[in-house]
Symmetry: C2
Subunit: 746 residues, 2 copies
Amino acid sequence: MNSNKLVYIGSIVSIAIVLFIGGLLIGRFAIPRSSNTIDTYNLSIVNQRTEEERKIIWNNLKQQFLNLVNAQEIEKNLYNFTRHTHLAGTDDDRNEAESIATKWREYGLDVTIHPYDVLLSYPNPIQPNIISIRDQNNNSIFQSNGNELMFNEDDKSLPFNNIVRPFLAYTPNGTVQSRKLFYINYCTTDDFQFIETIIDKNDLNGSIIICRFGKIFRGNKIGNAEKYGIIGVILYSDPIDFARNSTRSNSTYPNSIYMPDMGQQRGSALILSGDPLTKHYPAKDYMYRVPIDNNPWLPKIVAQQIGYKEAREILIRMTGISVLSNWTGGLDQVNYVYGGLLLDDLSIQISSYNTLQIRRIHHVIGTITGHIEPDRYVLIGAHFDAWNFGAIDDGSGIAVNHELVRVFRTLVRSNWKPRRSLMFCAWTAEEYGIVGSMEFVEEYAKILGSRVVSYLNMDVAVTGSELMIMEMSPLLYDFAIKISKQVKAPYVNETIYEQWIRINNGNHNVGEKFFTMGLSAISDFAGFNQIVGSSNIAMTYLNKSDLKNAGAYPLYHTQYETFRLVKKFVDPEFQAHQAIARVIGLSALTLTDIDLLPYNPARYHQALVSLLNLTKSIAPKSINFTSLQNAIDQFKIVADQFNQRIQTTLDKSNPIQLRIVNDQLMQLERAFQNPLGSSIEQADLKHTIYAPSRTNRYNARGFPSITDAIEDHNITNIQQQISIVTYFIHSAISVLHQPNKIQATS
Amino acid sequence: MNSNKLVYIGSIVSIAIVLFIGGLLIGRFAIPRSSNTIDTYNLSIVNQRTEEERKIIWNNLKQQFLNLVNAQEIEKNLYNFTRHTHLAGTDDDRNEAESIATKWREYGLDVTIHPYDVLLSYPNPIQPNIISIRDQNNNSIFQSNGNELMFNEDDKSLPFNNIVRPFLAYTPNGTVQSRKLFYINYCTTDDFQFIETIIDKNDLNGSIIICRFGKIFRGNKIGNAEKYGIIGVILYSDPIDFARNSTRSNSTYPNSIYMPDMGQQRGSALILSGDPLTKHYPAKDYMYRVPIDNNPWLPKIVAQQIGYKEAREILIRMTGISVLSNWTGGLDQVNYVYGGLLLDDLSIQISSYNTLQIRRIHHVIGTITGHIEPDRYVLIGAHFDAWNFGAIDDGSGIAVNHELVRVFRTLVRSNWKPRRSLMFCAWTAEEYGIVGSMEFVEEYAKILGSRVVSYLNMDVAVTGSELMIMEMSPLLYDFAIKISKQVKAPYVNETIYEQWIRINNGNHNVGEKFFTMGLSAISDFAGFNQIVGSSNIAMTYLNKSDLKNAGAYPLYHTQYETFRLVKKFVDPEFQAHQAIARVIGLSALTLTDIDLLPYNPARYHQALVSLLNLTKSIAPKSINFTSLQNAIDQFKIVADQFNQRIQTTLDKSNPIQLRIVNDQLMQLERAFQNPLGSSIEQADLKHTIYAPSRTNRYNARGFPSITDAIEDHNITNIQQQISIVTYFIHSAISVLHQPNKIQATS
C-alpha cells in the first residue's frame, strides 16, 4: 500500500516535469505560424524542432508511463474479475461486457460495443456427460463423475453453482458404445501413423479411443480420430504432463499449481477461427447462415474429458501389447497398452448431452483518438470470456488491460496527445475458437486492413515469473529486443533482456531461444494475422519448467483458475503482471506516438531464409527451390536499400514523406497475404509465410501451403505452391521499392 | 499547318504567363521558413495561400494544357503507328514497344519495360482456315477463301504480306464435318433458349452452327455452343449490322466505313482476362503454368469466321423453317431458316490450323513522378497491339497517348510539379483477351491496390465525331460532367456537355443517356476494376448511328482499319481525337494535381438504388431484399455526412488531414471488392457491384453474384449472395465513417 502511494506521488511529480519541459519547448519553438503546419499537436514528438528536444520529451514520456504502471491496481483488477464465471453467451458474459464498458467510460475512453450472434456450444445444466464401463449385461461397473471436485481451500464466496461442467465445445451429443478401446498417446497425426504400424487401421473403425491432452490442439485430436471411423474420443490430462512431481494430494492443487486427480481441462474442438455458420463474414442479422448439418468445421463424433483418476479405471481394463516408452504416461500401476477389445467382454460408453445454440456476444472497444493520424490504429487486446473464473486465462490479460487504460488515460490528462489512435479491445467467445474477435475482424476487414499498425495480444499473460516468451511478426524482432531492455524483470534486479541473457548462459542471440516468429490460431491475434495483415505481437511470463509443458500450464481451463491460485503460487506481488503491462504498454506507447514505425524489413529476410532451409529439409530431393531462393535473396537487397534510404534521405519533418514510408512498412506484412487463402478449404488463412498448421492450430507453420503439399506428397502442387509463395515475396519486394515509379522485373 | 503554329505560339505565351504569376505568388507568399512545410513544391496548387491565388494558377494550368493539345500531332502519331501491323508476340509487336519506349524517353519520361511470357494463339502462316461445303462423295462444291480482299484504294506501301488472316484466337485446330447445320442468330443465351423451343436440343449435338457477329462477346457465342455438343461454329458479319445501307461496293469499304462482302472481324474467344495458364498470377519465369489440356478457359470446339458473301453460299443451302423477323439478317435473296440437315445430302466442314504458343510480350510504362505524393498513381492507358494496322483499335488511343506525353512533358518543362505521379501505359496483348495488362495488374496487385487513384482508358477512342459516350465508376459521374463542360466538341461550336444537351433534346440528365456505370471486361480497365479496385473511366467519340450497332463499328478488327479510313471517313481533321485527348488529359491533370480527389460517394448511392430496382425486377417474388435495401439507405446517410464533413470541417491546408480523406475516397471502391471473387470459378471477378456478365463479357452486370444466382434459379444462393453484397456495402459504409474510431453497428 505504502509503496503504491509513493509510486503515485512520484508519477505526479514526473507529470509536472513533462508538462514543464513540454510547455518550455512549445513556448520556445512552436509559435504557430499558419494552420497548414501541424504545430498545434503540442506534445507529439514529431513537432519538436531538434532531435535532443524530441529525446527529452520522449524519454520523459516513457519514464512517466513506466512509473505509472501499478502492480496493486492489476491485483485489484484480477480480484474483481475472478469473482464471477465468464462463459461466453451467458448473463455473466453480458454483465462483464457492461462493467468493462462502464469502467472504461469512467476512465474517459470513447467506448463502442460490438454485438454478434454466433453459434456456441453448452453442456446440459442438469445432466452431466458421463463415461461408463459396462459388463456383458450392459450394467455399469464404473462411471465417471462428470464434474471437477471442490476443495476446502476454495473460496466459498465464489458462485460455484455457476461452474461450467467439463465438456468439449461443439462436439455432438449422443451415446456411443464399443467393446474396442485404443490408447493413441496424444492423438497427433504422427501417433495415428505410428499405431497403423502396430494394429490394423480397420480395427479402429467403430472403436472408442482414449488419449492425453497436450502437444497439439484438442480439436485436431478429435479431427484425426474422425478420419479412422472412430465413434468416440476420451481425453484426460496425464500426470506426466499435468502433475509432474507427484499425484499425491499435497503435491497438487490446492497445494500447488499441479492438476488434482479429478481435474479436467475444458475447451473447444472447433477446427476454425470464427463462427462456423458465417465463415468469412460477420455474424450479423443480415448475414446468411449455412445449415448446421454437415457443417465441415463442426466435430462429428462424441468426445468427453475425464480426470486422470477416472482415466486410470479405464486404462487398467484395456488389453493389447504394451506401448513404447514415449507413449507411456505417468499413472501409477498402469500398464499403458495400445488396446483392442476390453477385458472380460466389457464395453465402454460415452454419453454426451451438449447443445448448439446461437447466442449474442458483445465486444468492448475503447479508443483514444490520435491527433495527427487518427486513421492509424494500434490495438491492445485481451479476452474476458473464460471457462470459469479464468484467473489466468484470461484474467491476467484483462487485469493488465484495465491497468493500461488507467495509465494511458492519466497520460492523456497530463496533456499527452498521441500521434495515432490507440484502441483497447475486450473480446469474448475466444475460448470457443477465436469466434468473437474473428467476427469483429470480418466485419471491419476493409478498414482494419488499411489502418491497423499492430495488434498487441495478452492471453494467458502470466503463468509464472521467471522468463518472458514472445510470438511476433519478424518485423517486430528488433523492436521487442529494444523494449525488453527498458523493462525490469519481476522479483529480480535486472531487465527482461538481462534475464534472457542470464538464462541463455550469456548468449545474446535471445530471439532464437525465446521468440517464436509468426503467430498461430491459438488466440485473438488469429484474425489480425490472417485477415487484417497487420504486424502483431503476443507475450507471456512463465516459469522455465513451463517450457517443458506438453501444452499449457497444468491447471489450464480447470475450475481451479482462481485468484487464490495466482496470488499464492503464480505471481504473489503481481510483478510479472506489472512487467507484462510495461512491455505491452511501452510497445503501444511507441507504436502510437513515434513518427517512424520501428519495423525492420531485414529481419523478415532472416525469417524467410530459415523457413526456406526448414522447408528444403523436409521436401523431396526432386523439388526445385531456385526461384524462391532468388526471391528471398532479392528481398534482402531491397530491404537493405529501404533501410538505407530511411537513414539517409528520409525527411522526417515532412509529414507526407513520413506517411509514405510508414505506409510501406504497414503494407509489407500485407504483401504476403494471398486474398484467396492457402486453399479453397482454407480460404481464411491468407498469410503465405506463417499460418496455423493443418495438423495443429496451436502452431504457426512456415510456408504453410508448401508444407501441406509436401505432407500430401503432391510433387506438382509443391512446385505450384513454391511459385505462389515466390510471387508474394516479389509482391513484398515491390512494396519496399521506392514508390515514385513501378520497378520492372526481369 | 499554320493553325498548328499559331496554337503553339499561343501556348508558349501562356506558359510565360503561368510562370510569371507563379513566380509572383511564390515571391509574395512562399518565402520558405523550414523544411517541415511543403512550400518547396512551387506550382503545386495545394501550397498557394489563398483560394483565389490557387484558382488563378489552376485555371491557367488547365487553359495551358487545353491549348497545347494539338490535332496535327495526333494525326502524325496515327499515321506513323499505322505503317505496320501489330500482332502481339511478333517482331512487329516488340519493335513497337521499343519505339514507344524510345519516343517517351526522348520526351523525358522515366520509362520502364515489363515483359511477360503468355499463351497466345496464331493462324497458320501458309495454310488458311477453310470452310467448305461437300457433296455425297465428299467433293468440295464450295470453299471459303480464308482471307479478306485488298482494294486498289489500299495504300500499297503497307506491309500487306504481314496481314494476319482471319481467325478466332485460342480456338483449337482440327477438321470437323457435319450434315447438320443450324442458324442461331447471334448465339446469345437467349437465342439458344429460344431455338430449344423450335427444335429438339439433342439435334444440335454433333452439328455445326452458323451465327452472326454482334450483340455479345464472340467468346460467349462459342462457349454457349460447347454446352450443346456442337462441334463447330461459323461466324460472319451480317450486312444488317455491318453494311447497313447496302452491300453494293460503292456503299462499303473502300467507299465507306461499312463492311465489304469479304470483310471479316478477327478476335479472341478466350472467356477470361489474362493468361489462361497463370490465372491470378503474373506470367513470369518463376510462375507455375497449368497444363494446356482441359484448360477450362480455352475454347474446346473449332470455330472460324467468313465474309458475308461466303456466308450466303452456306445459308442458301440450309433447310428448316423460316426464322422470326428478329432473327432475319440482311443478305439479299436469302431465306433465313433455323436449319437441320443440309440440302441434297450435303455436309459442311471447317478446317482450322491455329496454333497455341507461349510468346514474350512487353508493356511500356512512362512516369512523371509526383512531388508531394509520389506513391499515388494516376494512370492513362491504351494498347498498341492490333489485329493488323489498328487505325481505330487502338491506334486512336495510342496516337492520343503519345500526344498527352508530349503535352504533359511540356508542362513539366514549364515547371509544373504534379502532386501525384502520372503514369502513361502502353499495353500489348489486349486483343487476345486483356491478356497483357492483366498480367501487369497481377504482378503489381499489392502496390497498385494501395496506390492507384484512377485508371483512364483509351481503346477505340474515336469511331466518329458526333457524340462522346463514357463508361465509369459512379464516383466519377460529377467529375465527368464537369470536365465535359470545359472541352470543345469536334467540328461544332459547343462544348461536349452542350452537345449532349442538344442531342438529348435539352434534357440535362445526360448521364442516364450517355454514361454507363461500371466497366466490363472489354478492355484494359478490366484488371483495374476487378483486381486493383481503383475508380476508373473510359470514353469513345462516335456517331449517333453507332449507338444502334449490334456490337462494334462496322470495320472492327478487319484489315481495313487503315489511316486512310480514319482520315477519309472517321475524323478528317482529328478534332474528335483532340477532344478525347483533352477530356482524358484534363481528367488526368485534375486527378494528378488537385488536393482533394473529385469523387462523389453520393453518386454511388444512386447507382446502388437503380441496381437494386433492376435486380428486384428479375428476382423471384419470394426473395427478401430488406437487408440490402437497408444497407443502401444507410450508405446514403453516411455518404452525405462524409460530403458534409468535407465541406465544413476538412482543413485542406493540413497535408495529413487531406491524405486521410483522399485515402477514404480511394478505399471506397475497394471496399466493394470481395477478395474471394464472385465464385470459386470466377475468383478473379472481385467487384461485387459491377463485373463482366457471365453471358457477355462486353457487358458490366450489376450485383453480378446475385444476378447469376437468379439466372440459376437457386433461391438459397440468391439469398446468400444478397447477404454477401449487403456485407460489402456495409464495408463501404465503414470506410466513409469518421476514421477516429470504429463505429459500432446494431
